[in-house]
């Protein structure tokens, strides 16, 4: 059993099942991201942990205590909202002090804690300002300080950075993560930005349509997507339709060219057409050396992205994107020319269908 457990949690609105059978066990001090497209139920799950929604079924436990039906103000959970949600009528210091004040802590303790929190989020000077006098990034730091001031057992963040511009987003991302490590606080972070999830999390929960598609470390989720959905949502992944020739040896045919899936195609039958994943960075624009899969195709598109040149090669029905590093000495191949590509046998992955309910 973990520190924060969700067991068989579902949420139904009328005829709409928004979260289905959600199981997750989070360890103390772990940083977990919920990643998925808009409307997949991330916020709803987070709000059930916070206590704003009561699950239609299932149990939520924090530190062994069943909190499923507990009111939000009895859970000692911290939350940071996308829209900051600072109280406009209170100063920065008063906002940070709010949780301590309603808990009737002594005045000097509150003052000390507020100063400490403002120092942690690097805004020690701004205690007397009102929220409207702060930038978005500053407001979100205050919101973070406010949530952490009461020493919550779990910190919940719902797309906290999506209202900010790109630069601040990246710096604040790093700050949140290092703060989380420093305080060793169990954290659930909701985002639809895969880069954010990959760069910050200990583990990622990839969700789609109310379902958990995969739970794993960023390395696992990125490199070994379990389902077609994960493969297409996390990173730019090529998905190829392959006809299974020999399940035992992993031999498959893609647009008439035979290649080998080194990790096997267990579970697939002969003659079936199944989706397979191939990362752009695994493909090179030459024959390569040794035991690689090689395929012939036509250069269909060349996009110059700076350090990287992204090229689309079409085989027939299927096409792949591949990334090569920009080399000032070598011009990229012209569109329409024939090319040979190669990729490692282990890089071609069979995708499972989405998990059932």
């Amino acid at each position: 059993m973990g520190f924060l457990d969700l067991e068989g949690v579902r949420k139904v609105y009328g005829a709409n099942t928004v979260v289905r059978n959600f199981n997750l066990s989070i360890q103390r001090g772990e940083f977990i991201s919920f990643l998925g497209p808009s409307g997949c139920g991330k916020t709803t799950t987070l709000r059930m942990i916070a206590g704003f929604e009561i699950p239609s079924a299932g149990t939520i436990r924090i530190d062994g205590r069943d909190v499923t039906e507990l009111k939000p103000n009895q859970r000692n959970v911290g939350m940071v909202f996308q829209s900051y949600a600072l109280f406009p009528n209170l100063t920065v210091a008063e906002n940070v002090a709010f949780g301590l004040k309603v808990a009737r802590r002594p005045k000097d303790e509150i003052a000390r804690r507020v100063a400490e929190m403002l120092a942690i989020v690097k805004l020690p000077e701004l205690g007397d300002r009102y929220p409207y006098q702060l930038s978005g990034g500053q407001q979100q730091r205050v919101a973070l300080a406010r949530a952490l001031a009461v020493k919550p057992t779990v910190l919940l963040l719902d797309e906290p950075l999506s209202a900010l511009d790109a630069k601040i987003r990246i710096s604040l991302r790093e700050e949140i993560r290092s703060l989380q490590r420093e305080l060793d606080i169990t954290t659930v972070y909701v985002t639809h930005d895969q880069e954010e999830a990959l760069s910050m999390s200990d583990r990622i929960v990839v969700m789609s349509d109310g379902r958990v598609e995969q739970i794993g470390t960023p390395f696992e989720v990125y490199n070994y997507p379990a389902t077609r959905f994960v493969a297409s949502f996390v990173g730019t992944l090529n998905i190829l339709d392959a006809r299974i020739v020999d399940p035992a040896s992993g031999r498959v045919v893609i647009d008439g060219q035979e290649v080998i899936a080194g990790r096997g195609v267990n579970g697939a039958g002969v003659g079936e057409v199944r989706p397979m994943a191939l990362r752009p960075e695994a493909i090179t624009l030459d024959g390569g050396n040794g035991d690689r899969n090689r395929m012939q195709g036509t250069i269909e598109e060349v996009a110059f992205l700076g350090a990287v040149v992204r090229i689309r090669v079409r085989f027939g029905e299927n096409a792949v994107l591949l990334d090569t590093f920009n080399n000032p000495g070598v011009a990229p191949p012209p569109r329409g020319s024939r090319a040979e590509v190669s990729f490692g046998r282990d890089d071609l992955l069979l995708l499972q269908d989405s998990a059932a309910d």
Binding site: G51, N73, V77, A85, F87, G99, K101, V102, A103, R146
Partner: protein, 298 residues
């Protein structure tokens, strides 16, 4: 100089001057009108309050306000206005709260909005008729209470032509006015504030005390002052209910202007000055309270 050259020299000047001048053209009638038909007439009464009939300065008119009938008229007026403003504010707040935050079916809201619009304008003479037909001596509610509940309103000392009668009647336009003003203000309370407060450990009451109420305070206060002024200046309802028999300031002033009673214009000006001062003071108080409680607004 040729004709064309003249035009060429003049034209640009006229153009750049023209822009501002048409803007002034737009706003001059407005100011002219409001000065002539709103501000000057009011100021002229104020001046008149300090004049003798032959135009020299005097404080005598003001001093003569200190008669028992006039003082009690002001007092009853203030009581009715304060009571109907506070009760109207309270009831209006509760209703607006129920409609906006009470999770009631959606179609209720446009209905309440329209009805409030109607009821807030349904003042004056017809309102008096409606309440006479309801709570008057032969009114429906009076009769039904007497017949079925054994409650004789009259025996209980209730009289439509009294402080409470007038207050209950005024509430018919006061409450909807408050509802109309407060619904958008309650919309302005963001759901996240309540949630943020809750997750920080606050009870609903603490959320209202520290966040929602302070945020609503300006609208609440402003609307209450408006309700006060609304009741304080109302003539028609009271007049149609009671004729000149109820002793409140606007009725006293009305009777005085009609020449029914006092027949002393300068005392009338002093009466008017009193009314202006009271609504004026209410507004000064409003501005003062707002400035104290509202440094957080841009």
């Amino acid at each position: 100089m040729s004709r064309e050259a003249e035009l060429a020299v003049v034209a640009p000047v006229a153009r750049s001057g023209g822009r501002r001048s048409w803007a002034w053209l737009g706003i001059t009638p407005f100011f002219l009108f409001t000065v002539l038909f709103l501000i000057l007439p009011t100021l002229d009464l104020v001046v008149g309050a300090f004049q003798t009939p032959d135009g020299s300065f005097t404080l005598d008119n003001i001093a003569r306000l200190n008669q028992p009938t006039i003082v009690s008229a002001y007092w009853i007026s203030i009581q009715v206005s304060v009571a109907s403003a506070l009760l109207g504010a309270l009831a209006g707040f509760v209703i607006a709260y129920a409609v906006v935050l009470g999770k009631l079916p959606r179609p209720l809201r446009p209905f309440v909005t329209t009805f409030s619009g109607v009821a807030s304008q349904f003042a004056g003479i017809p309102l008096a008729f409606a309440f006479l037909a309801t709570l008057g001596p032969t009114g429906l509610v009076t009769a039904l209470l007497d017949q079925y509940a054994g409650i004789n309103l009259r025996a209980l000392g209730f009289n439509l032509l009294s402080f409470w009668g007038l207050t209950i009647t005024y509430l018919y336009f006061q409450i909807p006015l408050m509802v109309l003003i407060l619904m958008p203000a309650l919309d302005g309370l963001r759901k996240e504030w309540r949630e943020a407060a809750a997750i920080l450990g606050a009870t609903p009451w603490q959320y209202w005390r520290h966040v929602a109420f302070p945020v609503l305070w300006p609208s609440l206060l402003g609307a209450t002052i408006l309700l006060f002024a609304n009741a304080f200046g109302a003539v028609a309802t009271a007049y149609a209910l009671t004729g000149s028999s109820l002793n409140i300031v606007p009725i006293l002033l009305y009777a005085q202007i009609r020449g029914d009673v006092l027949h002393d214009p300068h005392l009338g000006y002093a009466l008017a000055l009193g009314m202006i001062l009271i609504t004026g003071l209410a507004n000064v108080g409003y501005i003062w309270l707002r400035q104290r409680g509202e440094r957080w607004i841009k």
